[in-house]
């Protein structure tokens, strides 16, 4: 109950931040609508039509009432419902983020495990070095390099546009590859570092030594026992990656011309389309809260001894390193 209350409180605070921020941003949506025909009188009329002249609290409560009942309103021009808009754009972002996450996990876990098993070897040093580098590379710069090298010079894969897997799988696979690599590399590097360090630690522990002494094969020791114990930090870092991926799509979608919610928020910011910005930020925050909840649940599954709250704290404490923009 306390947990649910805390989530609700967090969510309410998040909506206040979302809504308050829009009001602080200069630029008048009425001007955006009036466009090239703007006259002072027309701008005032539009402001009144939109209800922008009402007090802040009234506007906020009005929006909150809608949001709670699942109504995020329409675009500022009223030509589309915000839900429809997010619904149209979210699949692109989510499929891209999912592939990027998958890429991060496969490469990250693979490299991390390989490095940990050959701890101290040249391969380990190489993985550590590449991972350290990978964390330092800005994703959109990597995207630019990828566009130039693989798209424009080698012409291997398309560097703009998108398709959805259930509409045209082959086209999707071609379009998703490069942006997913650009988006997922930093995550792969971070996961590799975390998995490696956690696994090195576990492999040194007494209970693994005991398993080994019992004559269990290496494969079983690593995957059945060591990984299970090294998976707590993995779960944490994967949870964090989801938040980073959602933020990272803002730039990557611009670099690769992908119509997702990242490019939607940039478009809407340019048009001062508040309802859309609020909707996207709200939905993103909701996704992240759900991710955190899922991480907690996975924790409990991985390690039933841990109660939810301490686990969450441990996870987030660990997560400090993962802060990026």
């Amino acid at each position: 109950m306390q947990r649910a209350g805390s989530i609700v409180l967090t969510l309410v605070l998040a909506t206040v931040i979302t809504f308050g921020l829009q009001k602080l941003v200069p630029g008048d949506p009425a001007l955006a609508i009036a466009g090239e025909d703007a006259t002072a009188q027309r701008v005032a009329e539009i402001r009144a039509d939109l209800g922008l002249d009402r007090p802040f609290v009234v506007q906020y409560l009005d929006w909150l009432r809608g949001a709670v009942t699942g109504d995020l309103g329409t675009t500022i021009r009223g030509d589309a419902s915000v839900w429809d808009l997010i619904g149209q754009r979210l699949p692109a972002t989510l499929t891209l983020a999912a592939v990027a996450l998958l890429f991060s996990i496969i490469i990250g876990v693979g490299a991390g495990v390989a490095a940990a098993l050959r701890h101290g070897s040249k391969a380990d040093t190489a993985v550590t070095a590449v991972a350290t580098l990978g964390v330092a590379v800005p994703n959109f710069w990597l995207g630019m390099v990828i566009v130039v090298v693989f798209g424009l010079t080698l012409n291997w894969l398309p560097v703009s546009g998108y398709a959805l897997p259930w509409e045209d799988f082959a086209a999707w696979a071609r379009h998703v590859t490069l942006p997913a690599i650009a988006l997922g590399t930093a995550g792969a590097a971070e996961i590799a570092r975390q998995v490696r360090s956690a696994l090195v630690e576990v492999l040194r522990s007494d209970f693994i030594r005991t398993h080994r002494a019992k004559g269990l094969p290496q494969r079983a020791v690593v995957w059945r026992h060591a990984m299970k114990n090294a998976s707590l930090p993995l779960v944490t870092v994967v949870g964090l990656q989801i938040s980073h991926l959602l933020g990272g799509t803002v730039v990557i979608e611009s670099v690769f011309a992908i119509p997702g919610i990242g490019s939607l928020i940039v478009q809407s910011a340019n048009q001062r389309d508040y309802p859309v910005i609020q909707g996207v930020v709200f939905v993103t925050a909701l996704l992240i809260i759900l991710t955190n909840l899922a991480v907690d649940l996975v924790y409990r599954y991985v390690d039933p001894r841990i109660g939810v709250r301490p686990a969450r704290r441990a996870g987030l404490r660990r997560a400090q390193r993962g802060v990026t923009v």
């Binding site: 921020l21 800005p138 424009l152 993103t284 441990a314 660990r318 997560a319």
Partner: protein, 289 residues
Amino acid sequence: MSASTSRVTGVPGTGGLRAVPLRLWLCLAVLAVLACCALLPNALAPYDPNAQDLGNILDSPSSAHWLGTDDVGRDVLSRLIAGTRTSLAAGFIAVAVSVLIGLPVGIVAGYFGGWVDAVLMRGVDAVLCFPPLILALGVAAAAGPGLVNSMAAVGIVLSPSLARLIRAQVLAVKERPYVEVARSFSCGPFRIVFRHILPNAMQPVLVQAAIFLGVALIAEAILSFLGLGVQPPAASWGSMLSRAFAFMPQAPRLMFPPGIAIVVTVLVFNMISDLAQERFDPRARDRRA
């Protein structure tokens, strides 16, 4: 990343220990170069970084222009050097703002506990539910154009995780015997915090600050890319990268100087953070071994 959680950021064990001096020297060398560029840009830059030469735009590297010229004929090397100061300053602004906000919030929450802690930490949770970039965009737009505003926004966005870290430190230190003793002598909270708690909680904060510097550099690049960076014609690595994106089909080479500068600098800050952590936190390693 508090004292009690172990993570291996560098190379633990024997191999790592041998590697430390080399990494340290590398870091110091890069820092020295950065410092020279930031402090004496005019002495090092071959040209005025803002001088245009519209007759020679997008020139390839040559003996006159080692890194070529940009889209209005400015010397890329000179802009790279001039941009060092701007970009590093941007990083420091963000870190300073994050510390200015995160430190008091973390201390108050950790020291006083109870409902104060609960309220502050729900606020921190709320901020942390946003992807940092999206929030930074919003705050930067609200603050108005200019590098200082944008980087202050980044600092605000980074501050909650710092607050959380500091709070954990304060909680850990608060229970230590000498603090208990100080309290029993009814020292005021200010005295306890500044004399006893802060000095003992600072090390992880410094480690974190080095990481934040790297994060802030990347943030500067991204915000410049989205049009919220330094005022033209001043150079920063982010603004150079953003311009390079616009001229990517004509001169893809323009993206490499600022991009590599950012990667190397972030790498160095991260390595310093790793090294510092290994130095500050031997207990964790002992426990681990």
